[in-house]
């Protein structure tokens, strides 16, 4: 188990995480899980719009998801930092994970 590898406290954190997700609340959805998760994250509510279009024709606008960054793509906020958009992580000149820059570039 992931938590036991980290520590007992970390496990408690993950347990809280699990409990909080369990309370997220069930809502009817019938499609493939991955597709639904991806679609909702991208803001595309296709299913509901299509099901109601038969009786009530209407234009449905679906936001196009942002393209996934290419894996090899690199962003250099300064000459000593390499940020990898696909990983949402930055590394310093030595190639060591740079949490400060990861936070500044991607986490706020």
């Amino acid at each position: 188990m992931i938590g036991s590898v980290i520590s007992r406290g970390a496990l408690a954190g993950l347990t809280i995480l699990a409990l909080s997700f369990g309370l997220a609340g069930p809502v009817a959805a019938k499609n493939n899980t991955a597709a639904i998760v991806g679609g909702i994250i991208a803001g595309a509510a296709v299913g509901a719009a299509v099901s109601s279009a038969i009786d009530h024709p209407q234009k449905v606008y679906v936001p196009v998801p942002a393209p996934r960054p290419a894996w090899g793509e690199v962003y250099r906020p300064n000459p000593n930092i390499w940020c990898y958009p696909a990983q949402r992580a930055c590394y310093n000149r030595a190639g060591v994970y740079a949490p400060n820059w990861t936070y500044r570039i991607y986490a706020r």
Binding site: I2, V5, I6, S7, R8, G9, A10, A12, G13, L14, I16, L17, A18, S20, F21, G22, A24, P26, V27, A28, A29, T33, A34, I36, V37, G38, I40, I41, A42, A45, P65, R68, W71, V74, W82, Y84, A86, Q87, R88, A89, Y91, N92, R93, A94, G95, V96, Y97, A98, P99, N100, T102, Y103, R104, I105, Y106, A107, R108
Partner: protein, 151 residues
């Protein structure tokens, strides 16, 4: 040797020296861009990851996995259990809306697997070069503008 021949010889020497310098510089730059990061392992592990979280959430989860790894590799970086618990919930909030109970379970599992994968990869990177890895952790701990979950 004529003056022209001497000049030609001198210029060739300069050209050779500049060429060698260029090769050394290029090699150095290549090393800097691909040192300790486990590029191929990262790509294999998360290269085709579904967008189960937002960009901000992924980045927060990365930083938490880094801090969890640092707590194992570096001395003086024990996790604060309450801070870690709160932060990991915050990192994955809000959960996607509109999921059935079963789908929410799948999503939750996917998030935990992603966290564990990231944690493992950072453990691998950190244990390869602990001195540099822990120096990076020390930079985070010293930065008062960026939250951390260590004691």
């Amino acid at each position: 040797m004529t003056d022209f021949a001497q000049l030609t010889k001198t210029l060739l020497c300069y050209a050779l020296a500049l060429g060698l310098l260029g090769l050394v510089t290029a090699a150095s730059a290549a090393e800097q861009e691909d040192d300790f990061r486990l590029d191929d392992a990262w790509e294999d592990a998360i290269g085709d990851q579904e967008p189960i979280l937002t960009e901000v959430q992924f980045a927060k989860l990365n930083n938490l996995a880094f801090q969890a790894a640092a707590s194992k590799i570096c001395s003086g970086f024990a996790l604060d259990q309450d801070k870690f618990s709160t932060a990991i919930v915050e990192a994955a909030t809000p959960a996607p809306e509109g999921l059935s109970e079963a789908e929410a379970d799948h999503w939750e599992a996917a998030v935990l697997i992603r966290f564990g994968t990231t944690y493992g990869l950072l453990l691998a990177e950190g244990n390869q070069h602990p001195q540099e890895f822990c120096a990076s952790a020390a930079e985070l701990k010293a930065d008062k503008d960026i939250p951390n979950v260590w004691q």
